[in-house]
Subunit: 240 residues, 2 copies
Amino acid sequence: MLRQNGLSCQSSCEIDLRDATKQLELLGKVESLKGRKRGSKRDPEAKKQLLIKATLDTIADIGVTDTTVSRICERSGLSRGMIHLHFGGKDNLLTAAAQHFSAQYYSEMDRMTDLGPDASPEDRVMAVIEADLSEALLNPRSTKIWHAFRGIASSHPGIARYSSTQDHRLVETLRLAFSEIAQQNGRDANLVDDATSGTLALMEGMWVNYLTDMQGFSRRRSVKLIRRFLCGLFPGKFKL
Amino acid sequence: MLRQNGLSCQSSCEIDLRDATKQLELLGKVESLKGRKRGSKRDPEAKKQLLIKATLDTIADIGVTDTTVSRICERSGLSRGMIHLHFGGKDNLLTAAAQHFSAQYYSEMDRMTDLGPDASPEDRVMAVIEADLSEALLNPRSTKIWHAFRGIASSHPGIARYSSTQDHRLVETLRLAFSEIAQQNGRDANLVDDATSGTLALMEGMWVNYLTDMQGFSRRRSVKLIRRFLCGLFPGKFKL
DNA sequence: ACATTTAATGGACGATCGTCCATTAATGAC
DNA sequence: GTCATTAATGGACGATCGTCCATTAAATGT
């Protein structure tokens, strides 16, 4: 499936590459580089990405326990030697997959919370919550992968680094927003910290709820639940 | 596994029954049961418990991925054939271990939340929270095991049944308490549900925080954080 | 005392694990 | 076109996996 898609793209790009080198020299060089990255039949970086993708898919499908080198290679359509060649071993591939997954989460989170510069702090907080609970970030595949990685994190230091929601930027985004809200009417020094850490904890809990019972889960109700808690924390704010 | 358990139980009961008919009828039955359980050198049930204990310890130590039959037997001091003999295979042992772990959690939770019959609903809620975050329930061993099981739950149906905090009794305990609090001054139909589910979610999040950063974790602050959220949800209640 | 039943052992078994490498195929340089 | 370089293959390798069973040991029944 993915393999077919990749192959057809590769062959067409190869033709473009030859045409370009025939006509121009300097430009052709640059283009061939770009073309190489995209479509050439020999593209190590693309293969690495393909292996990472296959690893994550396999974990989501059959769990980390049954995710073996053979299974990953079978799914990616690549030979068994590729993992050792590109990553030096299964462990490094798993770590790279965790890193990729984490980066993808935050990338999508950034994209969805890019409000204007004059957005209210309440809106910014709610944007983070709604993004975290959106189908783009919270879906069967991502929850399974996420909890699978966390489950083995404590015995796999390389993965532990990427199995925490406590990404610095995200924490600071929330803390800054809560700080703006609190300075108007707050006095407790821990209010901002508690709101930040509590919001993250509530989102974690919602992910667990989703994993445990996908049928009965409601994104709308989950968002409203967190908003209700925040409304209690900051009276007058976060009103529906 | 269950079948074997049933068989051994049957035979022992049969034996006890015959002894009892020889000497005394009712009392003999009880005594021979107790004596066999405690002192006999051949005690299948004790071996089963020993294997479950060793399984949980191994998971906490080196993670589910590296928890093999050999490793479990090595730790328990028993021979490699015992797992197949007593549980019929590794999978059943893992499931039994998850069940045991879950039962132990709720047993301890019950013990710590057994307040008098005239305890206020607020006190009952806080008792649950404080128990959940106490060292008896929240410690390095239990967090590692808990998240390890949850990580493989989605690809291991037998374990999934025991990897949810949403134990019925615990949920009902909280819901009842929140219901009593809310009926005095609440009108929103979802308030009780949100308080219940939000409290569980916050506790989940605290467990994740503990797993992620045991050094920086503070039980006291975590309890206060949740209390603060509940105080916001039920103004006037849960005051420090 | 002996016979019977059950607990427990530990090695055999095939399958599969992850790693590594000799080989082949494709590419870039001249 | 030829050569050097690099990507990619797929099988060999020893280790270890989980399962199973012939055997031994212990407890029970007669």
